[in-house]
């Protein structure tokens, strides 16, 4: 019989220690964690960015990633979106009893790989095991800290009329890749989640021009929701052009089939940047030079009229309002 995670693994006793040593210490190997103290202790100076997030994706493995990679990338990206260099992360695992040990190891390894790519260390963590049905296989909660370089001031409230809106690449890959694996919805697609750490992309953008006004990663709720948040926070309007939006044909096709709009589908390795017009080309060039920004494009600009409103120029030359996502994405009936 294959090894499975049991309630005893979360008891704090011998088996729990074994799990920590076998699965976590080995993979995340670093001196902070190895001390096994109640908290990780480190020196930091400068302006700190601090974030937290929880990951409950289903299924936990999907094309292009898994919940471990997603947890690390998502946390790294939240830090990067404030311009911070991500440094230290915490990872807490809430495991449903019965999860195969092999699957947990795979997830931990892939979390570590993502952490390595992003140059962050997982310095503290926790494990709880709950009864079957009390969680769905595995949930991960994270926190992360990073340092914001001097001269960088990025906030959702900083967009100004005349600024350009830049998107780092094609939208909708993650949401559709995950959906394609859901029970009862399996459709075959070559599509992979775009799940990736964006800290290096942000660092290169800031090198090209430290004067970036806003950064946001359009995760749940998609690009439409991020743009609405930015327009409301900055009390400006945002106008984008449909024909400039990068979307893969596979994503468009899946969206048509399911009745979704790619603007509302989740991404995990994309960012939208709002930058002053004069620096836009430099930032765009820097983005295109990074692996995760190859498909970057200027998709629109910021205006002063109708604060809080996002409008899209369609391929027919008409305009329509892009609202926030309401409720959950549900497939249509006919």
């Amino acid at each position: 019989m294959k090894d499975k995670i049991l309630l005893a693994h979360g008891s704090g006793g011998k088996q729990a220690h074994e799990l920590v040593e076998k699965s976590f210490l080995k993979a995340f190997a670093n001196p902070f964690l190895a001390k096994l103290d109640d908290s990780a202790v480190f020196d930091l100076s400068g302006r700190l960015a601090f974030t937290t997030d929880s990951y409950v994706v289903s299924p936990i493995f999907f094309p292009g990633g898994d919940i471990g990679k997603l947890a690390v990338c998502g946390t790294v990206n939240d830090l990067a979106m404030s311009g911070a260099k991500p440094l230290y992360l915490s990872l807490s695992f809430i495991i449903e009893e019965g999860l195969p040990q092999g699957e947990l190891n795979e997830i931990v390894d892939s979390a570590q790989k993502a952490a390595q790519e992003a140059g962050v260390k997982i310095v503290t963590g926790d494990t709880k095991v709950v009864h079957q049905g009390s969680a769905d296989k595995l949930f991960i909660n994270t926190a992360g800290v990073g340092i914001i370089p001097e001269g960088v001031d990025i906030s959702g409230g900083n967009a100004r009329p005349g600024d350009k809106v830049i998107l780092s690449g094609a939208i909708g890959d993650h949401g559709i890749a995950v959906l394609s694996q859901r029970e009862g919805l399996s459709f075959s697609t070559q599509l992979k989640s775009d799940c990736a750490p964006l800290d290096s992309l942000v660092a290169e953008m800031l090198k090209a021009s430290p004067n970036i006004h806003c950064l946001r990663d359009p995760t749940r709720g998609g690009l439409a929701t991020s743009l609405n948040e930015l327009a409301k926070q900055s009390k400006v309007s945002i106008r984008i052009e449909e024909e400039k939006l990068p979307v893969r044909e596979e994503v468009l096709a899946a969206c048509e089939m399911l009745g979704f709009d790619p603007l509302y589908v989740a991404n995990e390795g994309k960012l939208v940047a709002i930058v002053p017009a004069e620096g836009a080309d430099k930032v765009l060039k820097a983005m295109r030079g990074n692996h995760y920004g190859k498909g970057a494009a200027i998709i629109g600009e910021v205006g002063a009229e109708h604060p809080g409103r996002v409008v899209m120029k369609t391929c027919l030359g008409t305009s329509r309002i892009i609202d926030m996502l309401v409720g959950d994405l549900l497939p249509r009936i006919c």
Binding site: E183, G184, L185, R239, E243, E249, L252, A253, E256, G259, D261, V311, K313, T314, C315, L316, G317, T318, S319, R320, I321, D323, V326, G327, L330, P331, R332, I333, C334
Partner: protein, 363 residues
């Protein structure tokens, strides 16, 4: 050939739009029957680019919207019976019935599961032999064949699978709307997916008996513009016939295999339509030999009296008599987050399309 981006090309759209402007002399009112068409029309602002001679009205082609409250109540009542698992397409979840919604009874413990195909409902039935699995058969001719197929499949091996057949047929309701004389139509954009099953022949009576030009159209902006362009051409030439602007999806004779399945399992019956009332032969019920799959016969469902939400004009909107903007609840008490009527719930409902895509907004 790319089937999506090719049908969204702006240079082709420009050509069609200017051709429509050049051709259209007579003032006309066209109805797009299908909710999918309504969504495209709003999403791409098609009303904004048409000449002032052309008025577009939305029709009743949204299966959830036209489901009568009494029928919704049946589904919600079924969900509350112990050991019943309701399987449904996702759109149904939020639709309010007289007293509750599937979403609400689910939160109270009812077992309601979203499926993406009837075959998944069968799988659930197989895995839960001690429970009864009911599929909510809501939809037009588009979904009826797959539900018929699931019944034939279940016939071989599954005894705990039932269907609540609330299917509706499109041609009979169009006849009812035209006969009522409430809306005077000059042209009809016929539904694309429904026609993929039934073909274009079933629309002939509209062109022949009512003298109304018909064009079966697809769902991309170029499809709709082409449909409008062909309708305008018929009007200006004094013709009324049925044409297909969706050749990649629709054949005049339809999908014979799907029709055969439907015919084998279902027979026409009267059906209740929201806002329209009972329409003869516009519903589908299980034929006698398949009646053991009929949820209405298998369970004792008594939802009690039905109530219509006060002030909601979904019924009038579905007949093309009113638009969402005529409703005093629209955008105030009734929004996609807090829907009062079904046309605000369904992704293909007129009210939702008006609300989400800022109907009439000229940015």
């Amino acid at each position: 050939m790319k089937f999506i981006t090719e049908f969204r090309r702006s240079e082709l759209a420009e050509g069609l739009i200017s051709q429509i402007h050049r051709q259209s002399k007579t003032s006309v009112k066209f109805m797009e029957f299908c909710g999918g068409h309504t969504v495209t029309i709003f999403r791409y602002g098609i009303r904004q680019v048409l000449p002032s001679t052309i008025e577009m009205v939305s029709g009743p082609g949204c299966p959830i919207c036209v489901t009568a409250n009494a029928d919704l109540d049946k589904a919600i009542t079924l969900a509350q019976i112990p050991d019943v698992i309701i399987t449904t397409f996702g759109d149904m979840l939020k639709v309010p019935g007289s007293h509750s919604s599937l979403q609400k009874v689910k939160a109270d413990g009812a077992d309601v599961r979203i499926v993406y195909s009837t075959m998944d409902a069968l799988k659930i039935a197989e895995r839960n032999p001690t429970k009864s699995v009911v599929f909510l058969g809501i939809g037009f001719e588009t979904t009826a064949p797959t539900i018929a197929a699931s019944i034939l499949q279940a016939e071989k091996k599954i005894s705990n699978y039932y269907v609540l057949s609330l299917h509706k047929l499109c041609p009979p309701v169009l006849r009812a709307i035209l006969d009522s004389g409430e809306v005077k139509l000059d042209g009809l954009i016929c539904p694309g997916h429904v026609s993929a099953i039934i073909g274009s022949h079933p629309w002939e009576f509209i062109a022949r008996d009512y003298g109304i030009p018909c064009v079966v159209s697809g769902f991309e902006p170029l499809d709709i513009l082409q449909g409008v362009d062909m309708l305008v051409a018929q009007i200006e030439n004094g013709e009324s016939k049925v044409e297909i602007a969706y050749r990649r999806g629709v054949r005049p004779e339809g999908n014979q295999q799907a029709l055969k399945l439907m015919e084998q399992v279902f027979e026409p019956c009267p059906a209740q339509w929201r806002g329209i009332g009972e329409v003869l032969n516009s519903g589908l019920k299980l034929r006698e030999e398949y009646q053991h799959f009929d949820a209405e016969l298998a369970f004792d469902i008594d939802p009690g009296p039905t109530y219509e939400p006060k002030g909601c004009v979904c019924g009038d909107i579905l007949r093309g008599v009113k638009t969402p903007i005529d409703c005093r609840l629209f955008g105030k008490l009734c929004t996609p987050g807090h829907p009062v009527g079904p046309c605000m719930v369904s992704s293909e409902g007129s009210c939702s399309a008006h609300y989400l895509y800022g109907g009439g907004f000229e940015g």
